[in-house]
């Protein structure tokens, strides 16, 4: 009896965790999808995520409004994205290496500027209690859905539609698949990639705002544990498809919630190993979906990652 209840508790916690933990993955991976579809890879989104978390928290503490925090995080993320996009259009500059540098720089700057904000508490982002119909507190906790999660879900549908049906979406895809073709059509490839990287940065910054303003809902130096980079792997797994990003983000969120969920029901044996679950899952999916002989299906042709 107690065993059955334990399994249900874990399952429910994983579902709730998937919804709660997946939002940063979702935003970063959607942003990275836009960037990679234009033919560049930005590994610096990890730094953007951390800086977004810091700037959102600091703004929310000072202004009292979490939404102002989200806006500032988006702007700051956009600035990082534009910096990456601008620097990478210079000849001989490697986008992967610049991404690593921005990862270090973004998190360093966030730790530096965010030092005074570790103590004070910021107003959190609102959540909608979809679990009102149930009497069980676990169900209610699992189904408290943050507004940003819904925004992210809507955004993934919109992006999926926009990549197929809008002029801007098609231009980004052309720039990513063949720079020569885009140039022949009279488009400035560097500018398209600049804007695409900037847009990716905005979304990653908003993902960071979710981290500090909702879950885990505080600002400290360990706030991100590689979500920004895992999201890059997630984009590969999702085959650069925004709708698939949504599913993949939920999967990763669930894997991330496994460790805390097991701990909450008293599993202490090897519990640190469960914390590795999202990383192991990411790696396993990467290994299964990659191939040395052919480019990945759906991969933008100009991407250095898939060449």
């Amino acid at each position: 009896m107690s065993d059955g209840l334990g399994i249900w508790t874990v399952l429910l916690a994983v579902v709730g965790g998937a919804i709660r933990v997946s939002t940063p993955f979702l935003f970063v991976s959607l942003g990275e999808t836009i960037t990679e579809r234009s033919g560049r890879i930005n590994l610096g989104l990890e730094g953007t995520l951390v800086f977004g978390a810091m700037s959102a928290y600091a703004t929310a503490v000072m202004s009292g409004s979490p939404w102002a925090g989200v806006a500032v995080a988006g702007l700051a993320g956009g600035a990082f994205g534009l910096l990456h996009g601008y620097v990478c259009q210079l000849p001989r500059v490697n986008d992967v290496a610049i991404g690593i540098a921005l990862m270090l720089f973004g998190s360093g700057l966030a730790f530096f500027l965010g030092k005074p904000f570790i103590q004070p508490s910021a107003p959190p982002l609102p959540a909608i209690p979809f679990g009102f119909w149930s009497d069980l507190p676990q169900v209610q906790a699992a189904l408290r859905v943050n507004v940003l999660f819904l925004v992210g879900a809507a955004l993934s549908v919109f992006l999926w539609w926009a990549f197929r049906n809008t002029k801007a979406g098609l231009i980004v895809r052309v720039a990513g698949d063949s720079a020569d073709a885009a140039r022949a059509m009279g488009y400035d490839v560097d500018r398209i990639r600049l804007y695409a990287t900037g847009a990716g940065g905005v979304l990653a910054g908003i993902g960071g705002a979710y981290l500090s303003l909702y879950y885990p809902g505080s600002w400290n130096e360990g706030i991100s544990s590689g979500q920004g980079l895992m999201a890059v792997a997630l984009v590969i797994f999702a085959r650069w498809n925004p709708l698939a990003c949504f599913g993949a983000a939920l999967l990763f969120g669930g894997a991330g919630a496994l460790g805390p969920a097991l701990q909450s029901v008293g599993v202490s044996q090897g519990y640190y190993l469960y914390y590795a679950a999202p990383y192991v899952l990411t790696l396993a999916l990467l290994i299964l979906t990659s191939s040395p002989n052919r480019a990945l299906a759906g991969a933008p042709g100009e991407l250095s990652l898939s060449k």
């Binding site: 001989r92 360093g108 700057l109 890059v232 090897g270 640190y272 990383y279 790696l283």
Partner: protein, 387 residues
């Protein structure tokens, strides 16, 4: 007429170009690869000074503190060199795969697992004499590191998995494994507040190197850099790796074993990184614990890129960054700056140095042709005067 024709024939045959001319062209090429990184590093310093000035702090005080805290006294220098030692190994873990075109950023994982392996190996070897046990512990660490980062190379070569992402994921997995081992099976029950493995015992601890007073990790790190340099620049294997890094197709057409080269170089890099963890355990901590994840792996990436992936350039860069990190505490206390100051500085330096890549080949003064031509016309006129 005849006297005029002779020197131009000389110039047409490159094998017979005067030695002095060759040296000048070589020097011009070398000057570029030294002047641009140095200028970039100075620009990074200047930008960071500007950043500090904007916050109302004196950049000159920072330079003074970094000098005194990192290099000013023999104690400070020793501290810097001690921090430089793991950076040497960590940077090699980036520079060796980089020769094949792989960006490996997960050296941190190999460092941590190397330290754990060394500490774990100490227990069954306890009855052996130290002279035998310590090399065996080093081997245990190196094997674990070689397998860990070699797997990254294998996945890239045979499965097409991007090495940058897989190495970083593996380093997070390594941290989880080490937490599990340190808190669980390998935990010393007497380590209450700071979970650690059983101490390796005083007999197995390495004494410092004579004269310098810094642990042997520094000496071995420098030797490792020289070995890596010779391997990469003076052997056929290194040459083959460079071809494979430049153009995989060309290397395959030449019949080079690209896959095995990738696995070999990444495994060697991983073995070196693991030695950083080994030395932290046998020369500094005496046990493996959470301090192994001190970020040496990440600073090592910066060291390798600052040294432009050249193993010999890694040595001075590692000492410089070791000094900057050693003065971190002093910067916090004297200037009331947060501990992330050094991180901001390193990030800025990294960005500027990568940006400077775009400057190569832009300055005429470094062009070997310019120097060769000048000499050519000069020697031509000298010959005609003599005639």
């Amino acid at each position: 007429m005849v006297a005029d024709a002779a020197p131009s024939q000389l110039a047409a045959a490159p094998s017979r170009a005067p030695v002095g001319l060759q040296i000048r062209a070589w020097l011009a090429r070398r000057a570029e690869s030294i002047a641009i990184p140095v200028a970039a590093a100075l620009a990074g310093f200047a930008l960071f000074g500007l950043f500090l000035a904007c916050l109302g702090k004196s950049p000159f005080q920072l330079i003074d503190i970094v000098y005194r805290g990192g290099f000013g006294s023999s104690f400070a220098l020793g501290n810097s060199l001690q921090r430089a030692a793991p950076l040497l190994f960590a940077a090699l873990c980036v520079a060796l795969p980089a020769r094949l075109g792989l960006v490996v950023i997960g050296g941190e994982g190999a460092i941590i697992l190397g330290g754990i392996a060394a500490a774990a190996a100490a227990q069954p070897l306890a009855s052996l004499p130290a002279a035998l046990a310590i090399p065996l512990m080093a081997c245990a660490a190196a094997v674990v590191g070689a397998v860990w980062i070699g797997a990254v190379g294998w996945l890239q070569a045979y499965r097409g998995v991007n090495a940058t992402i897989s190495s970083l994921l593996l380093s997070y997995i390594a941290i989880a494994i080490s937490n599990h081992l340190i808190e669980g099976p390998l935990r010393d029950p007497t380590s209450l507040n700071k979970p650690s493995t059983l101490p390796i015992g005083d007999a197995f601890m390495l004494s410092p190197m004579p004269w310098i007073g810094v642990h042997w990790g520094l000496g071995c790190g420098v030797v490792a850099c020289i070995v890596a340099y010779v391997l990469m620049d003076r052997t056929t294997l290194g040459f083959a790796a460079r071809i494979a890094g430049g153009n995989v197709r060309a290397a395959q057409i030449q019949g080079l074993p690209v896959g095995r080269l990738i696995v070999g170089f990444t495994a060697l890099g991983g073995a070196f990184a693991a030695l950083a963890g080994f030395f932290e355990v046998v020369a500094v901590q005496g046990t493996a614990n959470g301090t192994l994840a001190a970020g040496y792996g990440y600073t090592g990436i910066l060291v390798a890129f600052l040294g432009r992936q050249n193993p010999l350039a890694i040595v001075p860069v590692a000492v410089l960054l070791g000094g900057i990190e050693a003065s971190s505490g002093l910067i916090q206390r004297r200037m009331q700056l947060p501990d992330a100051t050094v991180l901001v500085f390193e990030g800025l330096l990294f960005l500027v140095v990568l940006l400077s890549e775009t400057l190569y080949g832009r300055f005429k003064i470094f062009s070997p042709h310019l120097w060769a031509e000048k000499r050519e016309t000069a020697s031509a006129s000298a010959v005609s005067v003599a005639a």
